[in-house]
């Protein structure tokens, strides 16, 4: 029994199809609980007032925006090294989700910044890095849709993802160097739980869990969609040949 068994598209689909509704259901439930709790049942923070409630959506989406790219990086590596089609398709499936998460993080970050910094947009390192990350997602998706042959597209997008990862990291440092930060230090990272009041911590952890599971569910759904489309394409091509 090895994890590579799931690289077989049939096995992958047979295993994931029954669990998708559960993952999606739990994800939506956790998001609902986390967000409603965060929105309605947390006190206002001393310095920020009620605007602190925005962090319950901003932080999980920002986290998923980066994790989605990281997952695409790993999936691209697996495709280039072991050439498992499911891996390439999973990377393709993750890109629109990651792009949406980046967009949400950007918009909520800008809205959060308005009362805090007094302007809707501030060229501040992390916000700028996310804007660049968003551009990387757009380029990646554009390259996928521009190339007709599936394996060529998988190869080229994987190479782009690897190179893009290096440059995304580099941009992050460049941008940090270029402007001095206004952003909060990462108060919400899990290891610093002691710094924040538990009344903020529980709902945010539930919301993060919800967004994480949502990402998983959507990746599974979209990967299965891609596998089915690929199979339908192959069958149609075979039909045309025999006809």
């Amino acid at each position: 029994m090895s994890i590579w068994e799931y690289a077989n598209p049939k096995k992958f689909m047979a295993t994931t199809t029954p669990i998708i509704p559960w993952v999606l259901g739990i994800a939506l439930a956790a998001m609902f609980v986390g967000l409603v709790w965060g929105l309605l049942f947390t006190p206002d923070a001393e310095n920020f007032g009620a605007s602190v409630k925005i962090l319950f959506v901003h932080v999980p989406t920002a986290l998923m925006a980066i994790n989605a790219w990281f997952m695409m990086f790993v999936a691209s590596l697996i495709w280039l090294i072991r050439r498992h089609h499911v891996s390439a398709l999973a990377a393709k499936a993750a890109a629109p989700i990651g792009a949406t998460m980046t967009l949400i993080a950007l918009i909520t970050g800008a809205i959060w910044g308005q009362p805090t910094w007094g302007t809707w947009w501030q060229w501040e390192p992390r916000l700028t890095s996310f804007l660049i990350l968003f551009l990387f997602y757009l380029g990646y998706m554009a390259l996928w849709s521009a190339i007709e042959d599936n394996d060529t597209a998988a190869d080229l997008t994987s190479v782009l993802c690897l190179v893009g990862s290096i440059f995304a990291l580099l941009s992050r440092y460049a941008v940090r160097f270029w402007s001095n930060g206004l952003h909060q230090d990462s108060t919400f990272s899990a290891d610093k739980e002691t710094h924040i009041d538990p009344s903020f911590w529980y709902p945010s952890v539930i919301a993060m869990l919800g967004f994480g599971l949502l990402f998983l569910a959507l990746v599974l759904i979209r990967t299965n969609t891609e596998i089915r489309l690929r199979r339908a394409d192959a069958l149609e091509a075979r039909q045309r040949r025999s006809a």
Binding site: S51, V57, T100, W112, P115, R228, R231, L235
Partner: protein, 48 residues
């Protein structure tokens, strides 16, 4: 309407944007999945 003082608009705008975009993404994923299932079923039926 729940009031968050001077930040009411910002908070609701954020949650609104998030819920809208996430819902759009989920719905789009599910529709595409259904379409792919139908297409594959049709092709497989024709192929015997």
């Amino acid at each position: 309407m729940i009031d968050f003082g001077k930040h009411t608009f910002h908070v609701w705008a954020c949650y609104g944007v998030t819920v809208t975009l996430v819902a759009a993404l989920v719905i789009q994923s599910l529709t595409q999945s259904r379409k792919a299932k139908l297409r594959l079923a049709r092709v497989e039926a024709k192929n015997g």
